[in-house]
């Protein structure tokens, strides 16, 4: 679509976009204020709040836990998600239609309901250790991204190429790694990034599963926020936003950002 837009609409649209972006700049401003409370515009400039993050042990340990959960959970979801996506595309006739719905259930069921139920049935019911419960929760939370995004790139894959490799004597596992995987690589990368970001940002599931000694970064931020009102959280947020910008840069360079808009 293209055409002339009324100037009033342009002004209004500009306001909407300022509304979307300005709060993030306000966080950046607040993170360098030398006041002991949150203030914007910043009164004086300091980087002390950034040092404060590293001085607080809880931020360090929870950041590591979050990173471990995101890497392991996303990998797990891909390990079980890629074969499922493959089966859905390759054996479209043999498998029942409702099966693809099963894999999106973790998005359809409200996250907080999932977190609460997992806490009751698995971490308390089965007595699984905290980290394992968190890992199960995160792997399932991101499973829909793995299955859906990989499925989308498998949809345009020509399975006769794979049959050619097999009929020429290539063993199935080798066919997977040398023929199939290179063809769906961008889908797998996209799924990994989406899943990783979802896992790192998760609150609603983690909040039920964290326990003494083990917590994730967003939960730690939430807890700190409710006790202290200093700019430390603003500087943590800035660091996380820098990571997000870096990820977006990688996505833009490798795949183009348009795929995220789908």
């Amino acid at each position: 679509m293209s055409g002339r837009i009324h100037p009033a609409l342009v002004v209004f649209g500009a306001i909407v976009f300022i509304f979307l972006v300005a709060p993030l700049f306000i966080i950046v401003g607040a993170s360098v204020s030398d006041t002991p409370y949150l203030a914007f515009p910043p009164r004086g400039l300091t980087l002390q709040w950034f040092w404060n993050i590293f001085a607080i042990e809880a931020f360090r340990s929870t950041a590591i836990t979050s990173l471990q959960l995101a890497v392991l959970g996303t990998s797990l979801s891909l390990i079980i998600g890629i074969p499922a996506a493959y089966a859905l595309n390759r054996y479209r006739v043999e498998l029942p239609k409702w099966l693809s719905t099963v894999y999106v259930l973790p998005i359809l069921v409200p996250e907080i309901v999932f977190g609460f139920s997992l806490m009751k049935s698995v971490s308390v019911g089965l007595g699984t250790p905290i980290f394992l419960s968190l890992l199960i929760g995160h792997a399932l939370l991101v499973l829909p991204y793995s299955v859906r995004v990989v499925s989308a790139s498998l949809a345009s894959f020509d399975f006769s190429v794979e049959e050619a490799a097999i009929s020429l004597g290539c063993p199935p596992l080798k066919t997977f790694f040398t023929v199939l995987l290179p063809n769906i690589r961008s889908g797998v990368i996209a799924a990994f990034i989406l899943a990783f970001i979802t896992s790192v940002n998760d609150v609603s599931i983690s909040v039920f599963l964290t326990g003494p000694g083990i917590s994730t970064l967003p939960i730690q931020i939430l807890a700190y926020m409710q006790q202290f009102f200093d700019p430390t959280i603003a500087s943590v947020s800035v660091l996380l936003m820098i990571v997000t910008v870096a990820v977006m840069g990688v996505v833009e360079a490798t795949l183009g950002l348009t795929f995220l808009a789908k």
Partner: protein, 275 residues
Amino acid sequence: MKNWTCWALAAPATIAVVVFLVIPVASTILTTFGDPKGVFAPYIAFYNSGFRRTVLYRTLEIALITTAISLVLGFLAAWIVANAPGRIKSILIIAAVFPLLTGVVIRSFAWMIILGKNGILNSFLLWTGAITEPLSMLYTEGAVIVAMVYLFTPLMILTLVGVLEGIPQDLVQASMSLGAGPAATFRQVIFPLAVPGLIVGAVLVFTGSFTSYATPQILGGEQQMMMGTFLYQRAMVTFDWVGASTIPAVMIVGTFAVVLVMSRIAQRLNPMAVS
């Protein structure tokens, strides 16, 4: 043989979802029906408790207002994006995607800085002389709604951009050349074609805000308890698991009911819909 292979490939993911999601969620909901006082006793008790009813109504109200506002803002912004020239369009899409990739906690926190006692809004209002004492804006329903609109508008924009871009230019031109003004073209051609997208966006925003936890926790606190924060408080602070279990059931039923109503409205509004 073939049949066996396809199930073997699908099995790990399917079993994981069934064991760790379907069974736990089903058991949460089933425990609420085991009350000796009657099958629906916990739900009747839920509804009869003034406090819980207030929480439910407040959650519904906040979710509906959030959905309505982000529909309007998202539609206008998506319209701009769909009509913007290439370079500006990609900048605008980045501006919409970036907040989505930033965590909910961080985005809600931004509003603490804006709405707080020493926040930017209070400073501004004091400076203009509109107020003489800082207002307390945190922990109000308005604070939660503003933050949720902020949270969900990007989702609405990205949902609608694709839909608006998919509207064939021919239809718009045909309508214009047959004498319909811009307003009539919008009302009779563009809007009806955008309805399916608006419904998808509305469902996403409604379910997201109806079941949210972090935002009401950060900006609403105890004063503005919503279903999500109420569930957390029941489960993790008072450890009333049986009482807490009615909340997920109400959430799921509420979500499905609203989604059903919305898709009905969609069918009414969209003359092109087949079914």
